[in-house]
């Protein structure tokens, strides 16, 4: 069981984002504790990606506050987020297709030689190391990532988020492009990271996976938060009805 008596690792409080007239995120509050996996569910267009992109620094909030370790933080851009050890696996993966795995993994944080040049050999070596752990079948270290399969590209994006010792990990549909075997590998990775005390926001469509992997689930609909529930205290059907009908189940609030 996750200990939720202390300060949350992250708290996004009363966050709103609109695009033109559309309220993509409408006064949403969610939080996350160390070693916890919180699932974010909802139909396409519910505002899940937009919400977590505020945490990643990709979007700016129109209103709301973000607290890390109980302290108010100002996240203006992706660099700020990385500075708070927040790493993100974007739904689009955000890979530069023309560069190889190592260049993508270290993009924006290149290892350099004493002369200030990028140290490709060392970056490739580090990439080989982490890939050996995450996806031992991965061999295409010198090909641009556009030559990789969906699963391989996904593992590059995951490696990038995991390599830099994240404390807070945001995964936006990390298994969307994956086969059953690779999906299982991601599930094992999530368990492993959770055991290290990392907090994870997991956006996931498959309710069954959410029930297996997550401690709590927050459901969004039309930009609003329907509610957050302990997955142990609800059934698949409860969550489905939250997603579809936008109704909180009678049983458990959390």
């Amino acid at each position: 069981m996750v200990d939720r008596s202390g300060t949350p690792l992250v708290e996004m409080r009363d966050v709103s984002v609109s695009f033109g007239g559309i309220k993509a995120v409408d006064h949403v509050t969610i939080d996350l504790y160390p070693g916890e996996v919180v699932g974010l569910l909802g139909h396409n267009g519910a505002g899940k990606s937009t919400l977590i992109k505020c945490l990643s620094g990709a979007y700016k909030m129109d209103a709301g506050e973000i607290y890390v370790d109980g302290k108010l933080v100002d996240i203006q851009n992706p660099r700020d987020a990385r500075g708070h050890n927040i790493e993100t696996i974007y739904q689009t993966l955000a890979l530069a297709d023309n560069l190889d795995a190592a260049s993508n993994l270290f993009l924006g944080r290149e290892l350099i030689t004493p002369t200030g040049l990028v140290d490709d050999a060392r970056m490739e070596a580090e990439t080989r190391k982490i890939m050996a752990r995450l996806n031992p079948n991965f061999k295409k270290f010198n090909a641009p990532v556009k030559a990789l399969s969906g699963g391989q590209r996904q593992s590059v994006a995951i490696a990038r988020a995991v390599y830099f010792n994240a404390r807070i990990l945001v995964m936006d549909e990390p298994t969307a492009a994956l086969g059953p075997q690779e999906t299982q590998m991601v599930a094992e990775l999530i368990e492993q990271l959770k055991a290290q005390g990392i907090g994870i926001f997991l956006i996931e469509h498959d309710v069954h996976s959410v029930m297996n992997l997550c401690d709590r689930a927050s459901v969004m609909k039309n930009g609003q938060l329907v509610g957050t529930v302990d997955v142990d205290k609800v059934t698949d059907e409860d969550i489905l009805s939250m997603i579809i009908l936008g109704k909180r189940p009678e049983v458990a609030a959390s």
């Binding site: 993100t88 890979l95 040049l117 295409k140």
Partner: protein, 430 residues
């Protein structure tokens, strides 16, 4: 493509080019260049591939090639610069006016050793600032580069006109003129030394790369392949130097030089030109730009931004500032090209650099720079410039009418892109 294990180290080494890890596209371009040279050499009954013509071809290519290296970065980041010829003219005008009006008015007169360096620094500053301004308009104000530089095309062409009142400005400083081509060469001995140093550097580079791979236990090419590469590099470099050295200074020019020194030229005295300073400048720029592209963060960010601007942004790269830097580099290179071009003419002319924007873009594109962004090489662009210049000079030597020359060059540009598209489809390298 889906098979993860197919690219192991020992599999798929089908042919010799694969083992040498040659870029097939580079091979294609070199092949095209060699073909152009051979065809013209036959058509001109051997006049095309003489040391004299190769020397001339080289110095005619320099100005466009210098700008083409910058255009690679511009196009890689998904922009375009239509103003490079006009910017060249403005920088050239500024450097010329500095030499003939501005510095003399400060009491620094013709022949002063300060003349050339000051003029060059002012020219480079102007180019860099104007380029940065373009980059700011594109990056921060998000005006499309096509529009900004189309405007710039008109503006800078006419700023140059205004600065010089449309006059030809010259003669330029003697030292400055040495940077133009035939007026300033290294001579044979120094050229051989430079050639030897370049061979040493190339071999050292290959060895160093191999050592780094071995140190990290990555797969390496067989020793014979590395040795072949070194031998090829050495043959190319030394062959180039030998050719430039083989072009002898005409006897009457030598005799005049001896006369000027109050001496008499010994019977049978000859002297080769060697590497022109302008070519040295181009080589230095090529090396620097290649290092920037491959080994610096700046270069990594340029290519990442071209490949996927959103990904670059999400990785914390300041893509706006990057745009400013890329256009500023382009501006500096335009100034350098303007320096070489006006030095070669020995004066600034009002129409200097006219149509260069098209030649520069064509050189980059023929050299394999993809307009969709993310892909391009410095050596490709230089080779592209060389191919264009060879076509143009070759046709002039054969006596093709001027309109047909341009028609052929235009056709070749379109054909080159078509071949590139087909090549990328075939190799799945979209």
């Amino acid at each position: 493509m889906a098979d993860a294990s197919a690219s192991g180290t020992s599999i798929g080494r089908k042919n010799i080019f694969k083992t040498l890890e040659f870029d097939t596209r580079l091979l294609g371009m070199v092949g095209a260049f060699v073909l152009v040279c051979i065809v013209f050499n036959v058509l001109t009954e051997g006049r095309f591939l003489t040391p004299r013509n190769i020397f001339n071809l080289t110095i005619q290519t320099v100005s466009v090639a210098i700008m083409a290296t910058g255009m690679v970065f511009i196009i890689v980041t998904r922009h375009i610069d239509l103003s490079v010829g006009a910017l060249l003219a403005t920088c050239s005008a500024i450097m010329a006016m500095t030499q003939t009006q501005f510095l003399p008015s400060l009491g620094i007169d013709y022949g002063s050793p300060l003349m050339a360096p000051v003029a060059i620094v002012i020219g480079l500053l102007a180019g860099g600032l104007i380029g940065a301004f373009h980059g700011w308009l594109v990056g921060y104000l998000t005006i499309p580069a096509f529009i900004v530089t189309l405007g710039g095309f008109l503006v800078w062409r006419n700023v140059a006109w205004y600065l010089t009142s449309g006059q030809t400005i010259g003669p330029l400083d003697d030292t400055f003129q040495k940077l133009g081509g035939i007026g300033g060469t290294l001579g044979t001995t120094a050229s051989w030394i430079i050639g030897a140093l370049a061979v040493a550097a190339a071999c050292y580079g290959i060895l160093q790369a191999r050592r780094a791979r071995i140190a990290h236990e990555f797969p390496v090419k067989p020793v014979w392949a590395e040795a072949t590469l070194m031998a090829l590099a050495a043959a190319l470099i030394l062959g180039f130097v030998a050719t430039l050295n083989a072009y002898s200074v005409p006897t009457r020019v030598l005799a005049r030089e001896f006369e000027a020194r109050g001496e008499v030229m010994p019977e049978g005295f000859t002297q080769g030109y060697g590497i022109p300073f302008s070519v040295l400048i181009l080589i230095a720029i090529a090396v620097v730009m290649t290092v920037v592209a491959r080994r610096t963060r700046l270069g990594r960010y340029i290519f990442a931004t071209g490949g996927n601007p959103d990904a670059a942004e999400l990785s914390g790269i300041n893509t706006r500032l990057l745009t400013v830097k890329v256009f500023a580099m382009m501006g500096v290179l335009c100034a350098l090209a303007g320096m070489v071009a006006s030095a070669r003419l020995s004066f600034h002319s009002n129409d200097i650099g006219t149509l260069d924007e098209l030649r520069v873009i064509a050189a980059a594109v023929i050299g394999g720079t993809a307009l969709a962004g993310g892909i391009g090489t410095i050596y490709g662009a230089i080779l592209g410039a060389l191919i264009m210049q060879s076509l143009q000079s070759g046709m002039a030597m054969v006596g093709v009418d001027a309109p047909f020359q341009n028609i052929v060059v235009g056709g070749v540009l379109v054909l080159a892109v078509l071949i590139d598209i087909i090549y990328r489809k075939r190799t799945g390298d979209v």
